[in-house]
């Protein structure tokens, strides 16, 4: 996807006022400011990234029917991460970029029922059926994970953990990169593993 197309799809999908201010925001890259966005969550509320300046923000790309995402939900691993970190003041956005008709696409009602059933506790689920937020952050897979620090800088982009499989048994022995990065950052340390290959299923964007 070239930058012009990326630009166009972002324009179509999001309300973007602040976003267009600086061209550099197109590159979501670890070490750079995370591009701002406005996106509607599954309760109908518009969530604006820059309103959470001062807090850590986690973005979790999600497709409940992807076997890799499924592994982390059926095991309760993702829900535990959400509980653990939101209880420490972290903002957690689950993002669904599946297009209508594609695997993982959810209406707000379907998603709210799922969150309740799975006892998930993200701060909010951002519905991104046009893929604008996905393209803005170049999200490739589910479950791809990104972390933004209180200064608005992207500090982690990649996999949820070190074992790129669909098997629940692998979670216990995997190194969880989200825990690692948040712990290090909150302790004032450099994030030692800021980038990994984001394993999983391709994000099901509109074709």
């Amino acid at each position: 996807m070239n930058s012009a197309m990326k630009h166009a799809s972002v324009l179509m999908g999001l309300t973007l006022g602040a976003l267009l201010a600086a061209p550099s925001v197109w590159a979501a890259r670890v070490g750079n400011p995370a591009p701002d966005f406005n996106a509607t969550d599954s309760t109908g509320k518009v969530q604006k990234l820059s309103e959470y300046r001062g807090k850590y923000v986690v973005l979790e790309w999600h497709n409940r029917e992807c076997p890799y995402t499924h592994k982390h939900y059926v095991s309760g691993n993702m829900q535990k991460l959400q509980r653990d970190w939101t209880s420490k003041g972290v903002i957690w956005f689950t993002v669904i970029s599946s297009a209508p008709g594609q695997q993982g696409y959810m209406t707000a009602a379907e998603e709210n029922a799922y969150v309740e059933k799975m006892q998930a506790s993200p701060t909010a689920v951002l519905l991104d059926p046009a893929g604008a937020l996905g393209h803005l952050y170049a999200a490739k897979t589910t479950p791809q994970m990104l972390i933004i620090n209180p200064q608005g800088i992207l500090i982690y982009d990649g996999a949820i953990d070190s074992k790129p499989t669909t098997e629940v048994e692998d979670i216990a022995s995997a190194e969880n990169y989200v825990n690692l990065a948040l712990k290090e950052a909150m302790a004032g340390e450099q994030v030692k593993i800021p980038v990994t290959r984001p394993y999983g299923c391709s994000v099901k964007y509109a074709h």
């Binding site: 992807c66 076997p67 594609q102 990649g158 669909t166 800021p194 980038v195 290959r197 299923c201």
Partner: protein, 292 residues
């Protein structure tokens, strides 16, 4: 094609009516696998102490694919856990050259239709002729079309142990020959590969001494080049040059660019190009100029 729609899951059945009852309903609880995987050996018997080649033969449903050792932007390569008689050792899979699988905005690397993943097996010296060796393995793979499904199978093969040199199994000769033809080869003598690191790109230059009709690079490591970016290829007389967009996630310099270069009609060459940066190596700059 019908199966592809039907297997999207129980909630999303957009099957043409005429196949709805025939295919979708029985398939709903446990989908049939999208790949047939069998364990085969190149030879009919095992001779003690003599290494031989086994292969996992994947026959994939149309429009479905599995992945290379570097799967690209999504996916996961097949894994094999061998369960062999005592003293046998298995070597790593020899990966045939991959294909570029376009999945906009992503690009993956893998195989469609039919592929043989070969692995060397090393039998011990103390084996009794007249017995049979049971070779077993658990194979796990991710297979995808527009959706992905993890599958697995236990495969097995019995081969007699004989002291005489084994005969090849003619049933599989073509499969092994084809797989070998797709294996990346070491760079021929006289060829050389170097890479130059620029702001947003690597420039991979390969001196071949030949005139090639096409070239494409497949990186062995993730997060070095942007898989989906078009590769700008210059096919000179005696040299090939590719401009490869760096991955947005590449934060540190790399010493080597490793991968497979596929030339012309799928001639695959293993590449291990030292990377020089513009400004700190006059040598590679001048080399580059010479090749232009």
């Amino acid at each position: 094609m019908p199966a592809r729609f039907c297997l999207l899951g129980n909630r999303w059945l957009i099957c043409p009516i005429f196949i709805l009852l025939a295919v979708c309903l029985p398939a709903a609880p446990a989908s049939p696998p999208h790949a047939i995987v069998t364990l085969i050996a190149e030879q009919r018997s095992i001779q003690p102490r003599h290494k031989f080649w086994a292969g996992l033969h994947f026959q994939l449903e149309k429009h479905w694919h599995i992945y290379w050792i570097n799967p690209g932007d999504s996916g996961e390569p097949p894994r094999v856990a061998w369960d062999l008689p005592q003293g046998f050792r298995a070597g790593p899979i020899a990966w045939p050259a991959p294909h570029r699988l376009e999945n906009p905005p992503l690009v993956d690397y893998g195989y469609e239709d039919d592929v043989l993943l070969m692995a060397p097996l090393d039998p011990p010296s103390r084996l009794s002729a007249g017995h049979t060796a049971e070779l077993r393995a658990t194979v796990k793979w991710l297979i995808c079309s527009n959706i992905c499904v993890p599958e697995q199978k236990q495969v097995a093969l019995s081969l007699p142990i004989e002291d005489d040199p084994p005969e090849n199994d003619s049933r599989w000769r073509q499969l092994f020959d084809q797989a070998r033809a797709q294996m990346p080869r070491r760079m021929p003598s006289g060829w050389s590969a170097t890479a130059l690191s620029e702001a947003g790109h690597f420039i991979l230059s390969v001196k071949t001494g030949t005139q090639e009709s096409a070239a494409a690079f497949f990186p062995l490591a993730p997060l070095q080049i942007e898989n989906a970016a078009p590769q700008q290829v210059t096919l000179g007389s005696g040299a090939v040059r590719l401009t490869l967009q760096k991955s947005d996630q590449l934060l540190k310099p790399i010493a080597f660019l490793k991968g497979v270069l596929i030339l012309g009609d799928r001639k695959a060459i293993a590449i291990n190009a030292p990377v020089a940066s513009r400004g700190n190596s006059g040598k590679s700059l001048s080399e580059r100029k010479r090749r232009q």
